[in-house]
């Protein structure tokens, strides 16, 4: 069974799962387990030692995957049969919203959605519905979670990270691997690596994860990997300033990126001046965060 936050008073009000998110107690199902990507990464996750307990592909209930994982027609039957505590979604973008609604309705408290390219109006509906149900979502368009040595729930290559005391949170995919790899090369290990995904509307954000790391006894330092767009990095800087006691180092991608296609005047009005890499770096530095000039430099800032 999942480990719930045990802090008293509980900073998350019982809404999320701690220390952080996944470990050997996680019982994982895979939505889209018989698809190409689903099957490939299920194999990888099982090889890593993740406790995958089954999968879902409508129309393939009753089949078996890797000779030992049962396939179900629905998340509900999968959960009933396996006591799953988390689900990872590998279905195509147009089916991903339904997959998330289904997981939430089946009572799965933690959903990791790897799928890229989910329509944003769908994501707003999903997010608002999941919030009502107090379900935690990671992603979509994210590489998932890695608690080195314990569980890999996603697509982060398992061999590029070693266990340790540094929490890593990132909006990016392969850039995260770059950082984990640089850490490993310096002998620095990660407590958990959380890829929150780069979509404009997603589930868990930087501040949520920083809060988990702040309260996680296994995490002593934190690396934050951001990029241009939105204002999550600025919000993270606010949280770091007001609540965070553990040291944080960061990297922000996109200093040289051309300004994105503008969202009319509305974009400028809603986003305000925020969103550039320079602004984000400034906000983080003002919060006492050391910001690296290139990814390989990040771990050295915490040594």
């Amino acid at each position: 069974m999942v480990t719930l936050c045990r802090h008293k008073p509980c900073p998350c009000e019982g809404t999320y799962i701690m220390s952080i998110l996944v470990d050997n107690n996680t019982r994982l199902i895979v939505q889209g387990i018989t698809g190409n990507e689903g099957l490939f990464h299920t194999t990888q996750m099982v090889a890593y030692g993740t406790n995958v307990v089954g999968g879902v592909t409508p129309g393939k209930g009753g089949e078996w995957v890797l000779d030992k994982l049962p396939v179900f027609d629905s998340v509900k039957t999968a959960r009933d049969a396996t006591d799953a505590t988390a689900t990872i979604i590998f279905v195509p973008a147009r089916f991903a919203p339904d997959a998330m609604f289904e997981a939430a309705d089946a009572g799965i408290p933690l959903i990791i959605c790897i799928t890229e390219g989910v329509a944003v109006q769908d994501m707003m509906r999903v997010r608002n519905y999941l919030d009502q149900k107090k379900v935690r979502l990671i992603g979509p368009n994210c590489p998932g979670l890695l608690t080195p040595g314990k569980a890999k729930v996603g697509i982060i290559p398992g061999d590029i990270a070693i266990p340790g005391n540094v929490g890593v949170v990132s909006r990016s995919g392969t850039l995260t691997y770059e950082v984990l790899y640089a850490m490993k090369n310096l002998g620095m290990g990660a407590s958990t690596c959380v890829g929150i995904g780069g979509d404009p509307v997603n589930g868990t954000n930087f501040t949520d994860v920083l809060e988990m790391f702040e309260h996680d006894p296994k995490t002593e330092k934190v690396i934050l990997i951001g990029e241009i767009g939105g204002s999550e990095e600025e919000k993270a800087a606010e949280y770091i300033t007001s609540k965070m006691t553990k040291p944080v180092a960061a990297f922000i991608a996109g200093l040289t990126a051309p300004p994105g296609k503008r969202m009319g005047h509305a974009g400028a009005i809603i986003e305000g001046g925020a969103g550039t890499a320079a602004d984000k770096i400034k906000a983080l530095e003002a919060a006492g965060v050391k910001v690296a000039k290139h990814p390989e430099e990040i771990p050295t800032l915490l040594m």
């Binding site: 944003v120 707003m124 590029i160 005047h265 400028a268």
Partner: protein, 382 residues
């Protein structure tokens, strides 16, 4: 995906939002004819997918059809921000009492759609927002419930719209919400929404952006896509599902993942180079995608060196290596290539490229330095 003003306004009209009478023209003769049909004064408006066309002289008032033809000729000959004007919208001119700003867009922070309105509409709205944010009204919409009429009325009250217009404004707001929902818009903007001297509310200008990720369920909108204004390399990239943006530097980049692609550009710059493009081949790209990406990069004559930075995860380095080899076979590149492969099947990939005369690198910083050096050398040589 952006829509033209005339496309946006056609959609507005379909959902009951009043727009001026008018039609789009591809030639000055057509523009003249439309002006004749409309009678009276008309506005000739360049249809380009770029902002600031008014300040660039792309919007003109004509007093009759003869002048309409003359101005249309002039505007159809223009380039605005590098984009040739291929069409003009000919609208009947309105006598304006007030300009209102009104839009529905996504608020990523709130995870909800948001209505934005201001009594101080028009081209300077962003300055209004920056200088006097209290003049901007924002009301969030529950994505599961949709816009409710009282919320639209609240906006009308908040922008001090005279009572006589509330009913029409609520209709326009409900219409714009339907536009936004039905088209999977990420932006549906009316600026200005005007009160005319005849005391009518009309959407004088319109701008829409559609969520590319939702185009699978918007076949009608896909047909509206105007590819004339995209760089040919970007169209080619889209065909292969690659994310490509042309830039002004001389080091071509091919990277998997948007964040890592941006980072690779940043690191090139950090070590004194200038990236020639942003290119994300995405997760799990096969050899054909890689080959297409390489062709696109090498079409750019400015490119003096190419940096491949691949961190294998879903993407397998051996697949990427095969794509590089296939593309090299085809395009016979004459510029130096720096390649860095890490992660899934990196060993196999490196082995495949052993005989390809490429510069190899261990880290991103190393790869960036080598490509900067290679590009400089090449510059001196050429």
């Amino acid at each position: 995906m952006k829509l033209h003003e005339y496309q946006s306004k056609t959609i507005f009209s379909k959902y009951g939002i009043p727009i001026p009478k008018g039609r789009v023209a591809a030639t000055a003769q057509e523009a003249k004819q439309i002006a004749e049909e409309l009678g009276g004064r008309v506005v000739i408006k360049a249809q380009v997918l770029a902002g600031g066309r008014g300040k660039a002289g792309g919007v003109k008032l004509a007093k009759d059809s003869a002048e309409a033809e003359q101005l249309a000729t002039q505007i159809l000959g223009m380039d605005i921000k590098g984009l040739p004007v291929r069409k003009v919208l000919v609208d009947e001119a309105s006598a304006i009492d007030q300009e209102i700003y009104f839009a529905i867009t996504n608020d990523r922070t709130a995870k909800k759609p948001v209505m934005i309105a201001s009594a101080a509409g028009g081209v300077d709205i962003e300055e209004v927002a920056a200088a006097t944010p209290e003049k901007i009204v924002k009301v969030h919409i529950d994505p599961l419930l949709g816009l409710r009429e009282y919320q639209a009325r609240d906006v009308a009250v908040a922008i001090d719209l005279p009572r006589a217009y509330w009913k029409d404004f609520v209709k326009i707001a409900m219409g714009l919400w339907q536009v936004y929902s039905a088209t999977d818009a990420i932006l549906a903007e009316i600026n200005p929404l005007v009160i005319t001297k005849e005391k009518k509310l009309i959407a004088l200008d319109g701008k829409m952006m559609i969520d590319d990720n939702a185009l699978f369920r918007q076949p009608d909108l896909v047909e509206m896509r105007d590819t004339d204004e995209d760089a040919p390399s970007e169209i080619e990239a889209r065909r292969y599902g690659l994310s490509f943006i042309k830039l002004d530097g001389n080091i071509g980049c091919m990277v998997n993942g948007a964040g890592l692609a941006m980072t690779s550009m940043d690191v090139i710059k950090l070590f004194g180079g200038e990236p020639a493009n942003f290119l994300d081949i995405g997760g799990g790209a096969g050899a054909d995608k890689v080959a297409a990406g390489m062709r696109i990069i090498l079409t750019d004559p400015n490119v003096k060196a190419v940096l491949f930075n691949i961190f294998g995860g879903i993407t397998r380095c051996d697949e990427v290596a095969r794509g590089i080899l296939a593309a090299m076979e085809e395009v016979k590149p004459k510029v130096p290539m720096v390649v860095r492969l890490v992660g899934t099947n990196a060993e196999d990939g490196r082995r495949l490229l052993e005989n390809a005369k490429m510069i190899t690198a261990e880290t991103l910083a190393d790869a960036a330095k080598k490509s900067v050096k290679a590009a400089k050398k090449r510059k001196i040589n050429s």
